[in-house]
């Protein structure tokens, strides 16, 4: 099991960040990919300053209407890591993480509201002009796929 004093660091380089009322849109210049972080994920991401421990982040979750539960932070870090939005890989055992469905059940959240509250990132990857130029097969902007919303 990971150390709860882990201090994750949010990646800042080569990103364009746009804040919308309920989403944080992050464009990764290096990968030409766009991520839309929901409220809880962006909240966790903003607290990843290298100073705040995941336990402290967890304690602040009620600010975004979520219970102070460490598994939610770990879920958010997992999705952020998958989207390459963290510096380094957070050291925690993914095998110990509950699935999204288990988390909803464990926290006693209503199924409908859970989708909006629990950490999730919708990502869309666009083909780079270099890819297009190098003779890759035709690629158009892909339909966004849900990342972190599957069980």
């Amino acid at each position: 099991m990971e150390n709860s004093s882990l201090r994750p660091v949010a990646r800042q380089a080569n990103l364009t960040i746009e804040e919308l009322p309920t989403e944080l849109v992050v464009y990764d210049h290096l990968r030409n990919s766009m991520h839309c972080l929901n409220r809880s994920t962006s909240f966790v991401w903003r607290l990843c300053d290298g100073q705040t421990t995941i336990e402290q982040i967890g304690a602040r979750l009620p600010e975004v209407d979520l219970p102070a539960h460490l598994d939610i932070v770990r879920q958010a870090l997992k999705t952020l890591d998958k989207a390459h939005l963290l510096v380094g890989k957070p050291q925690f055992a993914e095998s110990g993480l509950p699935t999204r469905r288990q988390l909803v059940h464990r926290l006693g959240l209503a199924a409908g509201s859970a989708a909006a509250l629990l950490p999730a990132i919708a990502s869309a990857t666009a083909p780079t002009p270099t890819m297009a130029k190098s003779g890759d097969k035709d690629k158009k902007p892909k339909k966004p796929k849900k990342n972190g919303q599957d069980d």
């Binding site: 746009e18 919308l20 989403e23 210049h29 766009m34 339909k143």
Partner: protein
């Protein structure tokens, strides 16, 4: 000013409520009915290119949306945002290449406008890139675009002949593999639109916007507003996106010098199209206009044109085409010489002998000039048959052996 939203569907009313909420910060709409057709809401918002604004307003207002509705809008917003970033990346790449070749170029609309007006690429949909270069730089710019993987679309082999003939304002190019569309402009408006905006002047007034951390040259503030109004007029204000852009410019660009804008518009003869655009932005988006403009945007001619555009938008009807479109252009101009120029540009091609004239009568080379009077005779006969004769016929109550008003593709024009 308050818009009268009567007559539109509840889906259009919701889209307009979202648009107004974006500018006023106050979301006011009837409670969302369980029978709201969300696919229709999405279709209206997509069609008008304002999915991001609708999505942002609805979520900010905390509307209790069904899961289906939320996902539908969210997915479309993500798709639009990804596309905007993708096009922004491509614009930066093309401007780097043009800069390397020392070709002065200005980014029109697209990601530059999204950055300048909204400060966010994700809040404005982008369907293509528009790049303006000086007329004599079209060839070199075309070469740069070819080197970047673009080919002229629709079988056009370069823009040279079109530039020389002065018939068009841009050439469309498509990326061979990625499918990006780029419109390479050598003029801001079609010659038929009679709005001569000089490149040197536009270049001198340019400003730099930072897109994805890279500098890109675009039009100055005042030119941005005037060209947005001209563009919206050119399309008979057929999309809410353009009206929203104008509203956004008025509300988010405090540095707009209205004295300069009005003077420039007057000099170019495009004051009325400016006032109609501003009146529409005020009515539909709920923005406040500067006091000094109130009298101008409330004039009868402006109000009448506004009312027609609003009806078309609310009823989701197609904007006018052909003759009606030209009439709208004429009505949007205040100077007689511009109106005449637009009318002549429309009539001019009709006066030229066409293939049907040549098929009806075959004249030897030395008598080719006779096609012109022949053409005039044919037009006169056409008008007689299609317009004058039916009027006389109905006035005198003659029996109608043939319905002269029936239009078939063959008889739609002489």
């Amino acid at each position: 000013m308050q818009a009268n939203f009567e007559g539109g569907s509840r889906e259009i009313a919701l889209v307009l409520a979202c648009v107004r909420a974006h500018y006023t910060g106050r979301y006011r709409s009837d409670p969302i009915s369980a029978e709201m057709a969300w696919s229709e809401v999405l279709s209206v918002a997509s069609c008008h290119g304002i999915v991001p604004l609708v999505f942002a307003s609805l979520t900010a207002a905390g509307e209790p949306l069904s899961k289906e509705a939320r996902e539908l809008l969210r997915t479309e917003f993500h798709r639009s945002a990804a596309n905007s970033f993708l096009y922004a990346t491509e614009l930066v790449r093309l401007f780097d290449s043009l800069r390397e070749r020392k070709i002065p170029a200005l980014a029109l609309k697209g990601p530059a406008l999204a950055t300048l007006l909204y400060g966010k690429l994700s809040l404005r949909t982008v369907r293509d890139l528009d790049i303006l270069v000086e007329k004599n730089q079209v060839g070199p710019a075309m070469e740069v675009l070819r080197a970047c993987g673009y080919v002229p679309a629709e079988g056009l082999d370069g823009a040279g002949p079109s530039v020389k003939a002065g018939l068009r304002k841009h050439a469309l190019l498509t990326h061979q593999r990625a499918g990006f569309n780029v419109e390479l402009h050598w003029a801001v408006a079609d010659p038929s639109f009679a709005l001569p905006l000089n490149f040197d002047r536009l270049w001198a007034e340019r400003q730099i916007v930072t897109i994805l951390s890279q500098p890109v040259a675009t039009l100055g503030l005042e030119d941005t507003l005037l060209t947005m109004c001209a563009h919206a007029t050119n399309h008979c204000w057929g999309s809410l996106k353009w009206i929203c852009d104008i509203a956004q410019a008025v509300s988010s660009l405090p540095g707009l010098d209205w004295g300069r804008i009005l003077a420039r518009a007057q000099r170019l003869g495009c004051s009325r199209m400016l006032f109609v655009s501003l009146a529409l932005a005020s009515e539909l988006c709920g923005i406040s206009l500067p006091k000094k403009l109130e009298a101008d945007v409330s004039s009868t001619k402006v109000r009448r044109l506004c009312r027609e555009v609003r009806t078309t938008l609310l009823l989701d009807a197609e904007p006018p085409v052909n003759l009606n479109r030209t009439l709208t252009y004429i009505r949007s101009r205040e100077r007689l010489r511009d109106r005449m120029r637009i009318a002549l540009r429309f009539i001019g091609p009709e006066l030229r002998p066409n293939a049907r004239d040549r098929a009806l009568v075959q004249l030897p080379d030395s008598f080719q000039f006779l096609y012109f009077p022949f053409r005039l005779v044919r037009i006169a006969l056409f008008c007689w048959k299609r317009a004058i004769f039916p009027i006389i016929q109905s006035a005198l109550d003659w029996p109608r052996h043939r319905d002269w008003t029936t239009t078939s593709p063959e008889t739609a024009s002489p």
